[in-house]
Amino acid sequence: MSKGLTTAPFTLELRAQCHWDWKVAFYLYGAGSSAGLIFLELLLRRWNVIDEATALWGMWIGLVLALVSLAFLFSHLGPSARWRFLYVFRKPGTSWIARGAIIVTILVLLRILILLPSVPGFTGLPWGEETTAGALLRAGAMLFAAAFMAYSGLVLSSWNSIAFWNTPLLPILYVAYSFLAGLGALPLVVLATHGGEKLGEVGSILWPSLLLLLALNGFLLLIYLWGMATATVAARESVRRLVSGAHRWSFWIGVVGVGLVLPFVMIGLATGQELANNPATALWLATGCGAIQVGGFLLRDNFLRVGVYGYPV
């Protein structure tokens, strides 16, 4: 099949882009969340909130998530062209895709370098956690993680063809969502590495931060949609399709319900009743954190699907 507006009738109507599909959405979610996770991990490790084992495991999980999302991106490329993906670095002067490819590549390489000393056989490498070289690598990783989170929004907002994306608020929203998904993944990492007991220890910092981020993301989403609902015809059509059109169920139930309200209520209830320190509620809280990931992916997916072009003439 061809890609593009191939089946569109020859009539002058507002049309949504249909070639950037769920694979790109997963890349934006996966690589963005992975960047959010590594940024927060390095920061919280620096502040001694989490231990080294959690930080390392989180980085491994984040690396795998980034590589899986890159695999989805590769499968989105042309069937016979994907092996020439190295061309993608050629025009960083004008193309945000090229800039993003450079950023994500450096970020993955930095992660591998940071993780190498933890691999048996490489433990003698001179850039462990306590060394100057290690600190520089970690600072670099944080810088490129922040850059990638911003990139995941900038790549869409840089195009004025689709008004719904063409706003400086989109990178801000995507950075906030990357932080949310990263922070939402951290309890899952703690749970996987140390079990429910440790989760209770770090929970005093994680849960209030998560509640705050959930509220902030909800507020940003509201501001975003409100702004777009008063913008151009194409942007208003995008908002209509999102909140009351074909994508309304995915948006209200997935992005708002599962992604924001459900985890807010679950975590709020658990922490309010001090259940967060109880290992028995770990599964309950992990479900909330999983719901955040679902909402993060669906936000990217819905935003891509309701990207409506303006009239061509």
Binding site: K3, F10, T11, L12, H19, R90, T94, S95, G307, Y309
Partner: protein, 211 residues
């Protein structure tokens, strides 16, 4: 050096789709890909309802958003202003398709021909010129332009609604038309500086933002 431009006279277009067919015959594009389109719009209500026709094609913008967004540099502008895609460099990212406000580019992933799985000899020859998984769009029939012939769509138009010419040449047919008729360029506010002008009626004046 010439800068090729294109005019579409909206008063003259009758929606015959001759340009669409001519483009397909010339370039052999697959069934779901249309480098040239004529879109219809219904306006007004009975008894004053009418249908208008607007031919759409690549505008060969001077500041082409497709070329800016392409990470591989596959989309390049020739010295004469024609924007072309190098299929050997394109990797099918589809950034150009998102960036183009006129939603002009397509990506061809290989597909059946007009008569099913088995392609007719014409399709076999023409499809071989495309590369699976790469973007494609109108290239202003540059192979004809280079030979001094008009693009296939212009040549086929029975109503003389489509014209082309050198925007740098004050005596060219296209500049003559632009002096004679009111005109506008599509989505000019986006800063793409298109080389395509829609003529809307008597009036004329300066060439859009240029001379």
């Amino acid at each position: 050096m010439a800068r090729w431009g294109f005019t579409v006279d909206l008063e003259r277009c009758v929606g015959c789709m001759g340009c669409v067919i001519a483009c397909k015959a010339e370039n052999g594009t697959p069934p779901s890909i249309h480098w040239m389109k004529v879109v219809e719009k219904e306006e007004g209500e009975y008894p004053y309802a009418k249908r208008t026709f607007t031919p759409l094609r690549c505008n060969h913008c001077a500041d082409a958003p497709c070329a800016r967004s392409c990470p591989t540099g596959a989309i390049v502008k020739r010295p004469d202003g024609i924007v072309v895609i190098d299929k050997d460099v394109c990797i099918g990212v589809m950034a150009c398709m998102s960036a183009c406000p006129y939603y002009v580019p397509y990506r061809w992933d290989g597909e059946d021909g007009y008569y099913g799985e088995e392609k007719v000899p014409y399709e076999t020859v023409k499809y071989a010129e495309f590369k699976k998984g790469t973007a494609q769009k109108c290239h202003f029939c540059y192979h004809r332009i280079d030979e001094g012939r008009p693009p296939a769509c212009v040549e086929s138009c029975p109503a003389d609604a489509l014209n082309y010419g050198d925007l740098e040449d004050p005596e060219s047919r296209i500049n003559e038309l632009l002096r004679q008729k009111n005109h506008f360029r599509p989505r000019e506010e986006l800063g793409t500086n298109p080389s395509l002008f829609y003529l809307t009626g008597k009036g004329g004046g300066k060439v859009g933002g240029g001379k």
